[in-house]
Structures are given as C-alpha cells and as structure tokens.
Symmetry: D2
Subunit: 293 residues, 4 copies
C-alpha cells in the first residue's frame, strides 16, 4: 500500500520502520526534516509538506505530539486536509481529546476521506518491535479495511466503537498509568521510610497478583536513578490535562487521578518534563525529603 | 514436623490443607470451633485452647484477622504465649502493624521461642492452591529453618529483613492494592460516562504494559455485579487503617493512598464490608451516579 | 454618566439598580429581554442588541455568565465590539479566565476602547445592596477614571495590577470558597457521625478565630435543608473548572482544591447544579450516608 | 476557689494568669518545674507532683500536650488520679481523642470525682487575654458549677453534650483549621504563580464574605517569612492524627482533611514542627518550587 506517515517522534519512527519492513511504500514528513533521514535510508520517501506527503497516498497515518501539532499539521496551511482527496483513509494515532478526533472526522468527511482514531499504548520499545496495543474508534468497516496495516505494528488491536472512542480509551488507560505512578511513588517512599530496601520491595511487587509491568519499568528507574526517557514526563502531563478535561466534560469525579495530576504538574514545574515519566515521583520524594534508592 | 495452626479463616484453612498434604502433623484451633471440622476430617487434631494447641508443637503458626485477635489469641488467657516453651518457633502470618510483630518477638524471646513475621499476599485461591506470596521478617537463620514448611504454601517467599519487615512489606503491598482499586474504579466510571463499554475497557487493560491481575479480578466483579467475597472489604479497610498508622509513624506523606482509604471507609460505612474488596468502587459509583456494567 | 450594562442575572440586575440610584443614565440589554423590564421601570433604557446598547455609552459594563456568553455578547454578531467606538471604556465584571480578559483588552484596543477586568465577590445580597468586593486589573489610570462608577456598587475595590489580574484574583478567591465548602461539609459530617448536633457546631464555628461568614451562610442552608439559590452550584463548577485551568496554565499544584472540584462535579452530576453552591455538600453526604441536620 | 492547674505551656500559663487575676487560689505543677516560676511570682503555689498539686483543690484543671502526657500526669505514678478525692471536679482542657475523655470520666467517677472535657480554641494571645473559646462535654449540672471559673478565661463557652463532646468539637474545629491552612497555601501559591502580589491577595481575602481571621494571621507569617510560634506545627500534626483517628472510628470520609494532614506530615518531616502551624505551607511551597512573599 502507499502510505503517508507524518510525525516521526519516538513512536512514529518505530512504526514507519515496521511499515517499511511489512513491504509498504511509505512517504514521510516531519516538522524537523532531519528525523526523516534514517527512514529514507531504509527506503522511505521524504515529503516537504504534509499536503505533499499525502497527495498520492492510499492511507494517511500520523502520530503527533499534541493538539497544537494537530491544528498545524492537519488543519494548517499546507496541512494534511489541504492535500487529501476522495477515497483515502486517515488514521490519527496521536493521543488527543476525543473531540479533536470528532472534529477531524467531520473535516475529512467533507473531503470524502474516511477517518479512524487509533492511538496506541506502549512506548519506545513497543513501537520499535511492533508490540504496540492499538485502540480504535470509527466506522467498523473502515477499521476492517486498515486492520492489516496496523497488525505489523501491534500486539493487539481493540475496536472500541464510534469515532473518538479510541481516543477516549487511550485517555482512560493513561489515567490508570498516572495512578500507578503515584501509587508506586507513595508506596516506595513509605517502604523506605519504614526500613525496607527499595529493590527488595520491587522484587515483591514483581510477583504478586497486583503486579504490573509498569512497576518493574518505573521502579527500576527509581532505584537506578536513571530517568532517561522512554516516555517523557511532559507528555504524561499533557495526557493528565486531557484526562482532566475529559472528566470535566463528562462530570465524572476522578479524585485520585486528579491528585496524581497535581504531582505530575509539580514535577514538570521543577524542570523534569524532559525526563522519564517516573520522574513524577521525584516530586513526591521532594516532599518526603528522601530518595528511593 | 509437628505444627500448631491457629486461625482458620479463608486463609488459614487453605494453608492447613496444604500443610497436611505436605505430610505435617497439624493441631488446629479456631475461635469458632466448627471451622476445625473439615480439617480434622483431613487428619488434623483439634485443640480446645490456643495454649493447648501449641503445647506439643515444634512450629506455631497463625493467621488471625486483626490486632484484637492477636491480643486475645497470642497474649490473652490460655493464649499461645501461656502454652509455648523453649525451642519452638512461632510464625505470625497475619496482617498486622510491624510494632505488633515486634511486641510478639519480645514476648516470645522471654519464653525462649523464636519468632518471624510472615504475612502473605494472595487470597482464597492462592491459599487453597499453595500459591501465596510470603514476605518474611525476623532473624535470617530462623527464617532458613522454617522455609521448607512455608514452601508448599507459596509460590514465592521473600526475606525482607529484621522482625517487622515482613509486616511492613505486607502493608506497603496492600497500599498498592488500595490504590489500584481506586484507580480502576475512577477509570471505569470515566470510561462508562465517556461512552465506552466497561468489558471492552477491561479487555484493553488486560493486555497493556500497565495491566495487572488485580484489574482482571476486580474488574470482573464490577461488570458481573458479583461482589461475593474472596477478600472482604472490611479487611481492606482494616489494612488501610494500618497503612495510615504506619505512614503516620514514619511521617511519610501518602496523599493518594489516604484518599483511597476514604473511599474504602465510605463503602464500609454503606454496609458493604462483608462483600468483596472491589465493593469499594460502589462508593465511587454512588458519587458518580452510575453503575459500571 | 451614560452607561451601557449588559447581562442582567442576579448580579447584573443588582448592580444596575445601584447605578440608576447613583444617578447614571443606563441602557440595558439581556439575552432574555424580559429581565430588562423591572429595570426599565426604574428608569433604564432597553436596547435590542449589545451593539445598540453600547452605541451611545461612555462606559460599557457587563457581567456575563461564562466564556460562551463573552464569545457571543462581546465578540459575536451585533456584539459589543461591533458597536463600540474610540474613547469608551469597557468593564468586564464577569468571572472568566484572565486570558479571556487579555483577549478582550486587545480587541478593544484595536477599536480605541480602554478596558479593565473588574470581577466581583459577593452574591445576591451584596449585589443588591451595593456591598460587593471588586477586584480590578488593567491600566491604573483607566481604573482611576471608572472608580467613582464602581464605588456605589461596592464595599471595597482592590486594584490588583495589569489586565487579567482582576480575573486572576477572582479565581484565586473562589478557590478558597470551594475549599471552604468542602471543609465545612467534611467537618459537619464528621461532627454529626461523632455525635454532635450540627447547629451547635455551626454556633461554635461562628465565634472562633477560624470563623468565616461563608460557614454561617452555607451552614445554615445545610441544617435548614434549604438550598434555594443565592449563588448556583453550576457557577461554582464553572469557576472550579476555570481555576483548574489557571493552575494548569501556571503548573501550580492545587491538590485539595482539585479534590474539592471533584465534589462539586459529583453534585452537579446528580442534578443539583441549579441549587445553592452549598449543595456540593450533598455529594459528600451521599458518600457518607447521612444528612447534616 | 482553690484550683489546681497542671501543664504550663503557652495555653496553661495564660489561663493560670487569668485565674489568679480572678482571685482564685491556684496551685500549679509542670513537668519542667521552672515554668512555674513566673506564676509563683504572681501568687501561685508550686507543687512537686500532680498528686500533691490536686490534694487540697476544689477544682482540678489541666491542659496537657498529648495523650502520652495524659497517661503520665493523670493515670501515672503520683498522677492526678492518685491524689484526688470525693467531691472534686476535674476539667481536662487538653486536645485529646474523646475516648480519652471518656476513660478519664470513668476513672474519676471511681474516685467520686466529677469530670468535664473542656478543650479550648485560640492560641497564645487568646489564652493570655482571656479570649479563648471553650467547648464543653460532660454532665450539664457539673458544667454549670464550673462555668464561673471558665468565664474569665474565655470569650465564649459552648456546652456540646455528654462526656467527650467537647473533645469531639475541638477536633472537628481543628479539622476546619487544617483545611483552611491547606487552602490558603494552595491559593497563595497559585496567586503568586499567576502574577499577583501575595500581600494584595491577603488584603482582598481580608474583606470578602469568605474571609477568616486565620487567613490574616497565617497569611501574615507567609509574606513576612516569620514562622515564630503561636501554635506549633507539631501540635497541628498531633491534632490531624487525632482527627484521622476520630474519622476512622466513625467511618466518616474526610478526603480533603486527610489530604491536608499529608501536607502537615510532610512539613513536620522536613523539621519544621517547632515552627508556627502555617509552616505547613512550606511543604506546598517546596513542591511548587516558590516562596510566597
């Protein structure tokens, strides 16, 4: 298939690698063009604008960092919408508010373009190895058409319902992630203050029936004090803010998730936004006056 | 080995079954004696008092429901301490405050009895099938002596450090459990209000890198509206209260865990204490005005 | 002075009454025109559109319910901006995000119109009796010009700084209000459950050094179970949402205020948005399973 | 009247001064005896033990720092209970759990001594000037007997009900205080981050209908960065812990109050326990990365 892929961050770059390997013809675009180079070397074609990238594609895919990037790259000058034409299918893999997905669907429909929202769980590793978990909203029959393209990128694909339901599921999932980070941080601080060895605690958390892979991954960054990024804290805050907005829109009380957002906010405020998401816990450490190590 | 086992709730009964199957000679005692019957049928001997139960044992084990039960059964009239003698080893598998473990250790030492605290993670199923996760505090050499007895009961055994560190680890772990329940509840309510199907959401949570067996188990009780007990909410509140006390003792801030305790408290207050721990989420549903199903 | 006043809710109607009494010539406009009638009877002139209302005014004042009303009445078709002209001064008394004030200031400046944001604390009574507390942002010299107009409406007027600082102060103040309501509710529920008589508790709160008029007012609605509106809960939620946005914009952690927002959200979700703001406490009562009375 | 007064902290010393001035004959005792000296100079008699202090008194009053001090001074060796005799009246003005009051009442009754719990609101100033707010639990007729003694110490005296209801009211009141400190801190930090001048904000809070004397007092310590003690943070934490216990006993959900306790805990953990209660806000400042000044 002829695929246009826009947005080559950690997530996008991994996905394009897997699309190429699956034999697709991929045209790429990125705001900072040099991120295209390694993919061009693997066989991708580089476009100069979003509009140019999508002109000859059958499928238009993108994973952009936030609502502003959607506004520019999809709706802006020389944006995707100015280049698409009837019969194409657009797939937004970004983490955005479901209302953004809905606005996109309407705008694409006016051009005769089908649309699904298909954000992904997973970060650097899962993206590189085709192990993402994709959640999809949109018309079922459109989803069925693009499913074969998504399969090499992912371990599972869940169809969640109409347009925006993929985006909604992504935010709900990340609400759990934020809660888990807060829980891990509070529990590890309590453990350390009460005399336990942090690595021993992680070893226990690794085996119980409330274990979670995220505790292994995040926990390890804490005891090693290595907050190098696989998923940056600033994006966790972005997601936390979208979750808060979604809960506001639906009048849904989320007290503990709201509280965890405040921790993330505090950590970003301290300048740790470019570090790994687990750096949120450094804000808890600061308040507790200890480091987990 | 000659083992005395006191306290035959869901947890104790399962463990005694596995001790008998491992070939040990087990004397049992329970406050309400009729819970002894099924175990006597499997070969256990029934004692009339804690003191009597432990008189001829090499190893004294117990899993009691709370601090009051420890006060009665260990320290009370005809209690364990009045029956023990030099050379025995006592193993407290209850979930108690580490200071209780420390008081027990001192009292046993005065009788020449060794002591370890060895509370367990897992509930009905894990107890019955020998799949518990045991966390141990006490002298390392004492732990090594009793390890072979604990092995048939458990999937893993972690040695955490000196007396009280097993109890501490148990509370830290349950702090994570409480947070997970709160997170699951808030996220599922948000999901439902935002238009997702609850079972679909559970299916997604089942596969991602923030998945946790607890979400499967607790989530299932929500969508099936089946809150029959494998671990009663009242015990979760008991644990939440012990966690709050531990955090108070250590001046350790636990904002989100503290908040989750309030939810558990509200649910018990509504009379759901005998239901499964996931019934905590019914307090969140009440406030949100919906049911997750 | 010739004054145009737009928006005749509880707040606006009270203020116009006082402007008329102070001898000003007031032209009024309201989305639902019949709210103009009582003021026309007192001497006001009624306009058919915002643009018409402001055409001949020296001062343009308005107190609108939310951001959407600002979008329509200020920026919309036949809106204020389409009717203003050089030399006028516009005063926005609504509770809005400071960025909205800033956008207004820019838009007015393009028309040669000066602007201050001057939201008010107080509700029905204070508006009717000229006892509001006004907080002002904008150029100091513009403020000084309009101060005599604001004085008959208010007990105090505080100048807070540049454009948007009045709006910011209003949100900060209402953050305290929301916290006070949450505190009152939790404390009264605890008091009742612990055996105290709610009215006796209010009597004590009335005299101590942590007393606050809001406890008298809100507390009285609880024990009398009279939630008739002086300030509707839905507006408190609107404000809570603006506060959350302001805190998000400034990366300012507000854990307890965020938590109180969730309570307000739950109460509005239960359909109590048209009741008095103290109805937020009914969401706490619901979770606690009691009524404070 | 012949009065014994035990416990000469900031609160007790002030009260004894006023009792002397009212013409009573006062025997004093304090754990560290040198605190008696200034009162002896004003006419008090110094006793060497609690038992000695109360031997000849008609009324026994005390304001002790915590439960441990009650255990020692009331129930301990040479404690009050070992010195009292039939016909006396004991008045506990300490802030304790109502169950402590109830235990005291029972113990005194066995000696033929009447008892009321009569804790006080107010701190250094109110104690010195006889401006306390006293809340009383116990038999109404006993309260009526001692009321004339309490009057010179206080601005108001509220009778709250049976034994323990004074203690309960005190904790409920301090729950409001803790919430107010948290609210003030979060709001002031938000204000500063959003561009407002902290003193200007305090000036506004001083006039509105949600004003509270506590905002003036605590707010002033913030902008002046003067955390010298009138009521020490460590006592606020003690009270927060008692409040948490009371809420636990009554299954009463107190989410925001619980959260505020975590802030107090963090601040004490940082070593600020001997500073003024408003130093709790320094924990919030730490997390926000700014100082309010």
């Amino acid at each position: 298939m002829k695929i246009a892929y826009l947005g080559l961050g950690i997530m996008g770059s991994g996905m394009v690698g897997n699309l190429l390997q699956a034999g697709h013809s991929v045209t790429v675009w990125n705001r900072t063009p040099d991120r295209c180079t390694p993919l061009v070397e693997k066989g991708a074609t580089q476009a100069n604008t979003p509009a140019q990238a999508v002109a000859n594609a059958e499928i238009v895919m993108y994973c952009l960092s936030n609502e502003e990037a959607i506004a520019d790259t999809v709706f802006g000058e020389d944006g995707i919408l100015s280049g698409v034409h009837q019969g194409q299918i657009a797939i937004d893999m970004s983490t955005v508010h479901p209302n953004t997905s809905r606005r996109e669907a309407v705008a694409y429909a006016e051009k005769g373009v089908e649309f699904i929202d298909a954000p992904v769980f997973g970060s650097k590793n899962e993206s590189a190895t085709g192990g993402l978990w994709i959640v999809v909203g949109g018309k079922k029959e459109v989803f069925e058409k693009v499913k074969p393209i998504l399969e090499p990128l992912s371990e599972t694909i869940h169809y969640m319902g109409e347009t925006g339901m993929g985006a909604t599921m992504k935010l709900v999932g990340n609400a759990v992630v934020i809660s888990q980070i807060e829980a891990l941080g509070e529990a590890m601080i309590l453990a350390k203050k009460a005399g336990l060895n942090p690595q021993d605690v992680l070893d226990v958390l690794h085996v119980t029936d409330f274990k979670s892979p995220i505790f292994d991954g995040m926990g390890s960054t804490l005891v090693k004090r290595d907050f190098s990024t696989s998923f940056a804290l600033k994006w966790l805050l972005k997601d936390a803010n979208l979750i808060a907005q979604l809960a506001q829109d639906n009048n849904s009380p989320i007290p503990a998730i709201a509280l965890a957002r405040e921790t993330v906010k505090a950590a970003v405020n301290h300048g740790w936004g470019e570090e790994n998401a687990s750096a949120a816990i450094k804000a808890l450490e600061l308040q507790a006056g200890i480091e987990i190590k």
